[in-house]
Amino acid sequence: MAATSRLASCLPALLCAGCGGWQSALQPGGEQAGHLKVLIQLFTIVCGIVWLLVMLVLAAGLWRRHSGTPTGAAAERRSARLVGAATAASVLVIIGLTLASYVATHGLAAAGADPLVIRVRGSQWWWEVTYMDPSPDRTFLTANEIHVPVGRPIRVELAASDVIHSFWAPNLAGKQDLIPGRDNALSFTVDQPGLYREQCAEFCGLQHAHMAMLIVAEPAASFDAWRDGQIAEPPAPNDAEQAAGRLVFTGKACAACHTVRGTPAAGTLGPDLTHVGSRRTIAAGMLPTTRGSLAAWIADPQTIKPGNNMPMVPLTADELNALAAYLASLK
């Protein structure tokens, strides 16, 4: 727990550092994304040179004095040789790039030993996350945020519950689709601790734009502490308002779709909210988790994220306040 709060205290700094770079193929945070960045650079340089050469030949051809153009069979033959040579050169470039691509594929395929297995299930428009463990009582369910230890291979197993989605955390690896009726997996290792963003890359309907989550990469010790915290049931309400909020949660429609372990609420249509207060964002990466944003979201989910599956549940102002306080306390 101490480690988690230490991390939380440096979160603002991390958030700022992440601006514009926490979802980028050009700022790798791990081995695989690093390989891919090198490959992107290689292709860009080679293609850039080819483009420049073509433009130079074009410009030279247009600017030369055409009055003294040698014509006739000799000029034609020379051009034929040059076209042949240029074609041969492009064949060589293509073969080189194909080999580079092949080598890169092999580098990525080499999976590390003893990976941490995380199951990710895509739904319209959020992510269900299951941390697997050999002992069933250490397997747990969460949503819309992943924590990973730095340096340990991660294997993300991908499934979809409705339509096709795609898991893309460009700082960590290339994308992989989540397809109904198929099992896909993605392996990567994170080198740099930090906050990365993952976003659905396959068009999946109305709120495709708002189907993201944060990936928190942290040292093994903080990760273990976080995991222990997630396995545990959330703390009981420690004031009257939170207790009232818990009553609202279990008594109203909330519990039909959401689970909070340790309470009667056991719905599975929406994200598991057992430790929702410990997550950095709500609504699949849309809003920072605060009491205020929780209240705003519950009061009117359809204005914030039009078309999403959460209905507006009529609540009094007091009920809303209490509910937001309770959810924010689920650390």
């Binding site: 958030l15 247009l62 055409h66 076209v83 990525l108 068009f203 999946c204 849309m286």
Partner: protein, 637 residues
């Protein structure tokens, strides 16, 4: 056919030129009035309608693009709600691919191929009329649905299960699927006409090695259409069946397969890119030859490159599916095949460069479009090499990098040559020149506006911006580049607006063109501008690849065709030796009735499977009317 047995058998050899032309005019003309306009089978009138309609769809699709740029100009913008945005990007893609890009290339071919090969009409002219009405009905259906807030919202690729019965609400996905049926029927019809026209109706002497490069490119394109489009029709029909009568082609819970859709769609979808690009190869080759005053360098190499591209186009559809988790060996194969298509593209570029080096360029608007094509298309081709690599593609697939890539290929690679071709052939079609001064402005605005609009999208993609998002959050840091892109798009839109202005204005006050304003080498420049209904007074005899340059005196002509009925020369496939005189069908209103009957059936079948049953009756009636002998001279043949 026995040539000399029919009594009222007036031949062109029997008549003096001043009598011959009115006689030909009488036989081939389109009658005045509404009925005449609706029943014409003249390839020039139908081609012109196709062109105008396709350019109207281009303008409408462009408006949709500007709406998207308006929405994306700022983060968390609320100009377009997500539901409307999804319809807008789906309409933009479907409209541009199915109602503009493919039809406009076929339109140019319908108008020009018969003129370039020296014949009097396309093969199957009534099918040609039918294909236009079907195309018009398909476009009308799609846009009417959009106007009624029933526009498809599942992307132009309509992936299942999002477009399937469970998640695709209302009739939106059905509209998309049925629009496919309309446009593919029309595209396939035109493709068949072009193939037969090119293979069997070439002027005597136009052997395979004398066919103009644009005609070659349309021949290869037409074969691509014939082989690729059935895949999408199978896919869209299966989708309608899944949605309407509960089949489970794409439902994994009932033994169907989600990825089957993607295989079928991209088996069509990738050749589709070459269906749009190969005609542009023909246009570029034609323009470069005329404006360097020499034949295109490497005719044989260019023809081989066209054919090679056409064949390879069918071997790389999987590179649209690199993120779906297919086996690695297969992925490596498709990387190699996708990259290898850069080789014929390279051969084309090198041959054009050699032509420019060896010739004496004349910088008129069409050639300027070709230069803009070089600068932009080569970038698009090279980013194509990048996305062909599986590992690299997993980072850029479904991001704005790919949006940039394919706009470089489709606008830089196909629309720039197309507009160059319009400036080039406009005088032939309209009889007046487009403005050279405005044309230079159009090229400049489009080339600069395009690159400023689309180049930054490469960076947005690498920085994580995914496609088909209706908005993005402030903290993503994409706001600056997106605003820049949206402002640049205004420049691009101005370029297109100026093009439309020039095209409309020149039809009124453009300088009269004369038969051959550019000194072009191919047969279409040997007749008047615009050509008469019968195209050529006599069918020319071709003795070189550049008949108008090499036969400096007058073209030799073939004679002996009847003038009292529509008749043209059928020639052998390889050598174009004349084989027979063949009657060419006269005007008929029945193709329109057949198209109306088909439209009623196809649209009704969105709502009830029984429409296929009762809807078949009017179609059968229309087809019987179409083929019923009417005692015209053409029926004798």
């Amino acid at each position: 056919m026995s040539p000399d047995s029919l009594p009222p058998d007036i031949r062109d050899t029997d008549l003096a030129p001043d009598v011959l032309e009115p006689e030909l005019e009488r036989t081939w003309r389109t009658p005045r009035g509404l009925i005449g306009a609706l029943s014409t089978v003249d390839h020039k009138i139908i081609g012109r309608r196709y062109l105008v309609t396709a350019f109207i769809f281009l303008a409408m699709g462009g408006v949709l693009a500007m709406l998207m740029r308006l929405q994306l100009a700022r983060p968390e913008n609320r100009v377009l709600p997500p539901d409307l945005y999804d319809q807008v990007f789906t309409m933009h893609g479907a409209n541009m691919m199915f109602l503009f890009a493919v039809p406009v290339m076929e339109a140019v071919a319908v108008y020009l191929v018969p003129l370039m090969v020296g014949t009097r009409n396309v093969a199957f002219p009534r099918l040609n009329a039918f294909s236009y009405w079907m195309y018009l009905a398909g476009g009308f259906t799609l846009w009417t649905a959009f106007a009624l807030d029933m526009g498809p919202d599942v992307g132009w690729f309509a992936y299942v299960p999002l477009s399937g019965p469970e998640y695709g609400s209302g009739k939106r996905a059905d509209i998309w699927a049925q629009m496919i049926t309309f446009t593919e029927v029309s595209a396939m019809a035109v493709a068949v006409e072009i193939v037969v026209t090119v293979l069997k109706q070439r002027a005597p002497g136009m052997s395979l090695d004398r066919i103009p490069l644009f005609v070659w490119s349309m021949l290869v394109t037409s074969f691509l259409i014939i082989m690729a489009m059935p895949a999408i029709m199978v896919a869209s029909t299966s989708l309608i069946l899944d949605r309407l009568v509960g089949t489970h082609f794409f439902n994994p819970a009932e033994g169907g397969d989600v990825l089957l859709w993607q295989h079928l769609f991209w088996f069509f979808g990738h050749p589709e890119v070459y269906i749009v690009f190969l005609p542009a190869v023909g246009m570029v080759s034609t323009i470069i030859a005329t404006f360097t005053r020499r034949p295109t360098f490497g005719y044989l190499a260019l023809v081989m490159a066209l054919i090679a591209t056409g064949i390879l186009a069918f071997g790389l559809w999987v590179h649209h599916m690199f993120a779906t988790g297919l086996p690695r060996l297969g992925e490596s194969f498709f990387t190699a095949s996708s990259m290898s298509i850069a080789i014929p593209a390279g051969v084309q570029i090198f041959c054009w460069l050699a032509t420019l080096w060896l010739g004496r360029p004349v910088y008129r608007t069409p050639l300027l479009f070709v230069l803009a094509f070089f600068v932009t298309f080569v970038i698009g081709g090279l980013t194509g090499v990048m996305v062909a690599s599986v590992p690299l593609d997993t980072q850029v697939h479904d991001t704005y990098f790919v949006v940039a890539h394919f706009h470089y290929v489709l606008i830089g690679g196909a629309v720039f040559p197309l507009l160059g071709a319009i400036y080039y052939w406009y005088p032939k079609i309209v009889g007046r020149m487009m403005s050279e001064r405005l044309g230079r402005w159009v090229v400049g605005l489009l080339a600069i506006g395009f690159n400023l609009t689309f180049f930054p999208m490469h960076l947005l993609g690498l920085h994580g911006m995914t496609r088909r998002v209706y908005t993005y959050q402030v903290e993503m840091g994409w706001g600056g580049l997106n605003l820049f892109v949206s402002l640049s798009a205004v420049l691009l839109a101005c370029g297109f607006a100026l093009f439309f202005f020039d095209a409309i204005r020149s039809s009124w006050i453009g300088e009269p063109a004369g038969d051959d304003p550019w000194g072009g080498p191919t047969l279409e420049w040997s007749t008047t501008s615009p050509p008469p209904p019968y195209n050529f007074r006599h069918i020319p005899i071709v003795r070189s690849g550049q008949p108008l340059w090499d036969d400096t005196e007058t073209l030799t002509v073939a004679a002996g065709l009847r003038v009292d009925r529509r008749e043209l020369v059928v020639s052998s496939v390889a050598e174009a030796l004349p084989e027979a005189r063949e009657a060419s069908p006269a005007n008929s209103i029945w193709p329109l009735w057949a198209a109306i009957a088909s439209t009623v059936m196809l649209i009704s079948s969105i709502f009830s499977p029984w429409a296929v049953v009762w809807g078949a009756v009017p179609i059968a009636v229309a087809l019987i009317g179409w083929f019923w002998p009417k005692g015209t001279p053409e029926d004798e043949a």
